[in-house]
């Protein structure tokens, strides 16, 4: 994919040269943890029963971490589509389209740079959750397997939503249209998932929706490994199903993004 490297490095330069977006992007994870950690901390203190509501996690932060990691990936990924639209508006896209580079490299430079940012955010988040008083506690230490699952889940959810929003941006020319779509779906997507709330606290129909929401798949995968440490075989197979579903969806969307962007990016 010629062009991918210079375009991705351009995205990075633009990112770290914009102090506001740099700082907000790095601080945002702290907010998530601090806010949700204290807002829902009461849950864990309710009674002994609450421990089962948060699926046996020692505290709420440990429970919520999988959700926060997923949401961080989700939101950062979603916003990458906006960059493509701005490139079109500001004329730089014209330069890329004239060059003998693959069309898809234009789109994937946005996706990959978002993924890299997400990995940085995830690292900060985990660090923050660990140092917080009454923060993240791993069941049996943190194994390589846990790290693998955690990264895989966040990466796949990020690829899924970065692909979706870049697919939209390939055709849409108005930043506001994209913001509209973003606002329309981000909160519903969040609140019909198990990212923030234990399923036991959800209304019945939302619980059903949450089961098929990829955001839940990612959040629950991470949660399962963090809370339980060594998994039972049924937990293992459930985890396998979630990760497989995420994988299939991510691969399908990435391929679709590849082929549609190769077919042409709107001027």
């Amino acid at each position: 994919m010629s062009g991918l490297l210079p375009l991705t490095s351009r995205e990075f330069k633009k990112w770290y040269r914009n102090p506001i977006s740099l700082v907000t992007g790095l601080i945002q994870p702290f907010f998530w943890i601090a806010l949700f950690g204290s807002a829902f901390a009461g849950l864990a203190d309710l009674s002994g029963a609450s421990n089962s509501i948060i699926e046996g996690a020692p505290n709420y932060i440990t429970f919520i971490l999988g959700g926060v990691l997923t949401i961080t990936g989700l939101f950062t990924a979603m916003f990458t589509g906006v960059n493509l639209i701005f490139d079109r508006r500001l004329g730089t896209l014209g330069r890329f389209l004239i060059a003998p580079i693959k069309r898809s490299s234009i789109v994937f430079s946005k996706i990959f740079s978002a993924i890299a940012r997400i990995i940085i955010q995830v690292a900060i988040l985990i660090g923050a959750a660990l140092v917080l008083p009454d923060g993240l506690r791993f069941a049996h230490g943190f194994t390589l397997f846990d790290v693998g699952v955690l990264i895989a889940a966040v990466l796949m959810i990020s690829f899924i939503f970065a692909s979706i929003f870049n697919l939209i941006a390939i055709r849409i020319t108005q930043p506001n249209s994209l913001f509209g779509i973003l606002n329309l779906i981000n909160l519903p997507l969040l609140f019909t998932s198990t990212a923030m709330f234990p399923p036991d606290l959800m209304a019945g129909w939302i619980r059903t929706v949450a089961k098929y929401n990829p955001v839940s798949w990612s959040a629950d995968s991470i949660r399962t490994v963090i809370i339980n440490g060594s998994l039972t075989s049924s937990q293992m197979s459930q985890l396998g199903i979630w990760l497989l579903a995420l994988f299939v969806l991510a691969v399908a969307l990435v391929l679709l993004t590849y082929f549609l962007s190769e077919k042409g990016i709107r001027e």
Binding site: K13, N18, L90, I101
Partner: protein, 333 residues
């Protein structure tokens, strides 16, 4: 200058959702090493033509060969050997001029050391060395246009497309830009295709020019051929008698002649500065008695209107235009 580098055959573009032909059966031939001007009013189809030749927009009909490659079948090969400076700005404001150059160089797989050298050379060429490491958002309009110009050259193209390189620049910056363009053509051995609304620009820079409107070629020729035609000066004369006014029509070197009221004639000559002595000689030889004489050099606007405005748009196939074409043919003979 005999080798053809670009040739189009009935190149046509109809944008989807529109039923007007932005470019309509265009046939042009461009020679290696020349600066070829594409002149036309807003919406004439200049940008569309360049977009097709640079493979940015797919033609809806016809074909074109650019540097030996078919623009449809071999679009990637075409892209590698051309440089484009589009009408709209394309550089990234958050990067420096140098970084913009280096990024575009890597799109063309230019070796990094070579790209550095080339970037330095080009920045020097357009006097941007000092601003090279500043962010483009701090550049003035003229600096930005100069940067755009050299970004189109970083891959050492055989052909450079310049779409209105001086749009929005003040008069001084414009002529400075012309100097850069001439330098580029001389030093870098590149064929340049230049579009413009400004006749003086085409005049100053290009060896041959095609005037287009509504996507069609109106006229093509060397600058000199067109200048001779376009800069036809008007000599208005009034005589004592109608017979004398008829006699002046026999003056040999005229381009065009029209009656201009009783006893009055509107004579068009190529270059009034040269022809005026001849006209006076003719008058005295034939003993005509002249009562009034004025010389009018048409402004460039008039000239442009002659080809694009009056002839075609106002009066469909109007006399003025046909007259012009007739005269063109005369001129070539």
């Amino acid at each position: 200058m005999t080798e053809t580098i670009i040739k189009t055959e009935n190149l046509t573009k109809t944008y989807s959702g529109s039923n007007v032909k932005a470019v309509d059966n265009l046939n042009i031939e461009i020679m290696k090493g020349e600066i070829y001007g594409l002149l036309g009013p807003n919406g004439a189809g200049k940008t569309t033509t360049i977009s097709m030749l640079s493979t940015r927009v797919a033609p809806s009909g016809g074909k074109a060969i650019v540097a030996g490659y078919d623009i449809i079948k071999d679009s990637l090969k075409v892209r590698k050997v051309i440089g484009v400076v589009p009408q709209d700005l394309t550089t990234d404001e958050d990067l420096s001029g140098y970084e913009n150059l280096m990024m575009v160089a890597s799109f063309y797989d230019v070796n990094k050391n070579k790209a550095k050298e080339k970037a330095a050379q080009l920045l020097r060429l357009v006097d941007l060395e000092e601003a090279a490491n500043k962010h483009v958002k701090t550049y003035s309009g003229g600096m930005r246009k100069r940067l755009e110009l050299i970004v189109g050259l970083i891959n050492e193209p055989e052909i450079l497309f310049l779409d209105e390189p001086t749009l929005g620049l003040d008069v001084q910056t414009r002529s400075q830009m012309w100097k850069y363009i001439r330098d580029i053509q001389e030093k870098l051995d590149v064929t340049i295709i230049l579009t413009s609304h400004y006749l003086d620009e085409i005049d100053a820079l290009s060896s041959r020019v095609t005037i287009i409107d509504h996507g069609k070629v109106l006229v093509t020729g060397t600058s000199e051929e067109l200048k001779a035609k376009l800069k036809g000066d008007i000599i208005m004369m009034t005589f004592k008698t109608q017979e004398e006014a008829e006699k002046i029509k026999e003056f040999p070197n005229l381009v065009d002649v029209k009656d201009n009221g009783p006893k009055s004639v509107r004579l068009k000559v190529q270059d009034s500065d040269r022809e005026l002595p001849n006209v006076i000689e003719f008058i005295s030889k034939n003993q005509l008695s002249l009562t009034r004489m004025t010389v009018q050099k048409p402004s460039l606007d008039d000239v442009f209107l002659e080809y694009t405005g009056k002839g075609i748009r106002d009066a469909e196939g109007g006399g003025e235009f046909r007259q012009t074409m007739f005269n063109m043919r005369r001129l070539r003979r």
